[in-house]
């Protein structure tokens, strides 16, 4: 990494204060940066969405249980890796959790080596995927600023069409296409068409393969 990144955070959520404190202490003894929350609500209010992190989550909790919190994070387009901790080997719940994209599913009492290894694994995966995801999100953000027309023009450019062809396709004149093209390149922050195409590819714009 070219820049010095802050240490990743391990979020722990468990409604049992004794367990919460013990897990927090165990992870701290390993030198990890831990943020512990006694309830999903407090976690939702306080967690840092942009930080590199993973979540160690208790399955059974009052008000909002682990699976519900997982679904909620999914809806918020969070990619936080979640490691479930559960008191009982509930197969149905574990299958559901894994289908919803859980990083792992561990049973209590959990052995330190296993827990720490799983956490490190999850953090490493988060670290590996994070730059690409950040990039994707940056592009997506820019794409969101395009007008409907600009987006149509972009798709045509990515498809390798010339201005004249685009104008014909969209039922307008070449001059207008040029104007849109300049605007969208400015909005996407690129100077040359090659960069624009690369960006669009990463963001998955233009499903039609180039010939």
């Amino acid at each position: 990494m070219p820049r010095m990144q802050p240490a990743p955070i391990v979020y722990v959520v468990d409604d049992d204060p004794d367990v919460l404190k013990a897990i927090e202490r165990l992870l701290e003894s390993e030198g990890l940066r831990v943020a512990a929350f006694p309830s999903p609500r407090q976690f939702l209010e306080r967690y840092d969405r942009d930080a590199a992190a993973c979540l160690v989550l208790d399955l059974a909790m009052p008000e909002l249980n682990g699976l519900e919190l997982q679904a909620m994070l999914e809806r918020q387009a969070s990619h936080l890796p979640i490691i479930f901790l559960t008191g009982r080997g509930d197969i149905a719940a574990s299958v559901r959790a894994m289908k919803q994209g859980a990083a792992d599913f561990l049973t209590k009492p959990v052995d330190d080596a296993l827990l720490i290894a799983t956490i490190r694994d999850a953090l490493a995966r988060d670290r590996a995927l994070r730059p690409a995801r950040i990039e994707r999100e940056r592009i997506a953000k820019r794409l969101a600023t395009l007008t409907e027309r600009e987006r149509q023009v972009l798709e045509q450019i990515v498809a390798g069409k010339l201005n004249k062809e685009i104008a014909a396709e969209l039922g307008t004149v070449e001059k207008t296409v040029k104007f849109h093209r300049a605007n969208l390149m400015h909005k996407m922050g690129v100077r040359v068409v090659a960069d624009l195409v690369k960006l669009a590819e990463r963001a998955g714009v233009g499903s039609t393969p180039r010939t």
């Binding site: 013990a22 202490r25 009052p62 209590k108 330190d112």
Partner: protein
Amino acid sequence: MNWVEVTWIVMSAASLTLGVIQLLVWLKRRSQYAPLLFFALAASATGFGAFELAMMRAPSPVDYAATLRWAQVLLTILVLSIVWFVRLYFGAGRLWLAYLISGLRLLALGLNFVTGVNINFREVSALDQVYLWGGVAVSGPVGVANPWVIVPQITNVLLIAFVVDASIALWRRGGADARRRAAIIGGSLVLCISAVGAFAALIITGLLHAPTIVMPGVFIVVLAMGYELGWDVIAVGQLAAQLRASELRFRAVVEAVPSAILLVNDKGIITLANAQAETVFGYERAELVATPVEKLVPERFRRSHVGLRAGYAGDPQPRAMGVGRELFACRKDGSEVPVEVALSPMRTGDRLSVLVSVADITQRRQVEQASARQRDELAHLSRVAMLGELSGSLAHELNQPLTAILSNAQAAQRYLAQSPPRVDKLAEILTDIVKSDHRAGAVIQRLRSLLRKEEAQRHPLDVNEVVEESLRLMRSDLLNRQVVVSSELARELPAVNGDRTQLQQVLLNLLINGCDAMDGHRSDNRLIIRTQGTANGNVEVSVADKGAGIPSADLERIFEPFVTTKSHGLGLGLAICRSIVEAHGGRLWATNNPDRGATLHCELPRRVP
């Protein structure tokens, strides 16, 4: 002696005899003055008979007048006795009239000594020889009437009025006895007083030359009254016979009763004991009667029993003794038997006796104990079954502290492995490990107490505590089933007397049932557990669910064994819960909520210290 002398002597003697009989009656019963008044009446009649005989045989007018003057004393006593006898014996007659007659008669007696030669004559100038039947000659007065004679004559008229009025009042009051009395005494009095009065008036005014013959009339009155009073003596005898019969019946009943019966007087002395009392207490009847009842009370209660007895005398009502407490009687051999005692007061005269009925309930106790044992065993079995349902929850409750212990211990190992070792962290970690260990121990303890099989015991319990304990046991299960419990626990509830484990079992059952009722209703799975004081001072615990409710036909049926709406379970839970609650003297019932779901209510009686 001629027949006149004989007759007058016989009448006097007969009057005296009748009088003395009633005097004896009065001496036995001093509170009754009627016999005493009759004695005065009869005695004065006796004396008057003698005076009258003397007058008939008077040798000179002076002797005649003097004798008649002194005879007035006896006549006055006679009139006064009649007035007050009627007043007392009839319980009727106008009081003012009685006083007026008495006053006038005393006034006449006074005038008798200060005017004329007596109240009848101003002077007796001569004596007539009057020949009666059989040629007997007697003296009759010839003289001038004393104008004051009007006073005794008015008195006589008033006396007749008084007697008539009293007789009518008595007659109206009804009753065969009263009417006979009114007719005989009232009739004879009116008849004789008017006859004698009229006869005397004729002689005094000189219209009739005859001796004064008053005694026969007086004697008839004495006879009539004596007859009535004698009737009373007979009635007393009959009453005594009835009383003896009633006493015999009472004893026969007392002997036949299957309980021990004791009659205890106001001093606490046993005055009567039946055959069953010998069996229950092991004493001979002779050893019971005339001894203090406290000897049948176990030593440790004797002292307080004396006070309780005095308390009962203050408010004597038929009631059971020692309500709500177990009573024991002490047998002759020193052993104790459980008893049930009923008390009822018996008032004789001014003295209060208590009829004590004692039932030996040893056998009933044994049956009760056997069925209690069975109930406890069944409760235990159902508890074990219920714990099966809760096992997941209990495992989780145990797993939590174990998780904390393991992680803490491994954290400690890691701190120790660092160089230099982070010893500073250890104290805190060890404290937490100990805490978690206690927590696991408490779970095991709760589990063990629920699994334990022992006789139900009664202790003073705080129902809120039992509720909280049950919720702790259910915690994980409730979480897992996504059921939220809100508890509304009333403060300052009275304590109840109960078996902690069994009441906890009831509450757990109600909570599990509430959760089951809401399975499949995924939204708003809420149970409300509430404790409150009832209007009659007891404690009610209720568990309300938001399920489908109970069909009204089944509200009572769900407490029958083997009736269940669930796919699992035997349907014994609520039946056993009800038997547990009822064994605690409480009630368990179900109602449907106005909006949604059902509520199970459990009322437990407050503890009576």
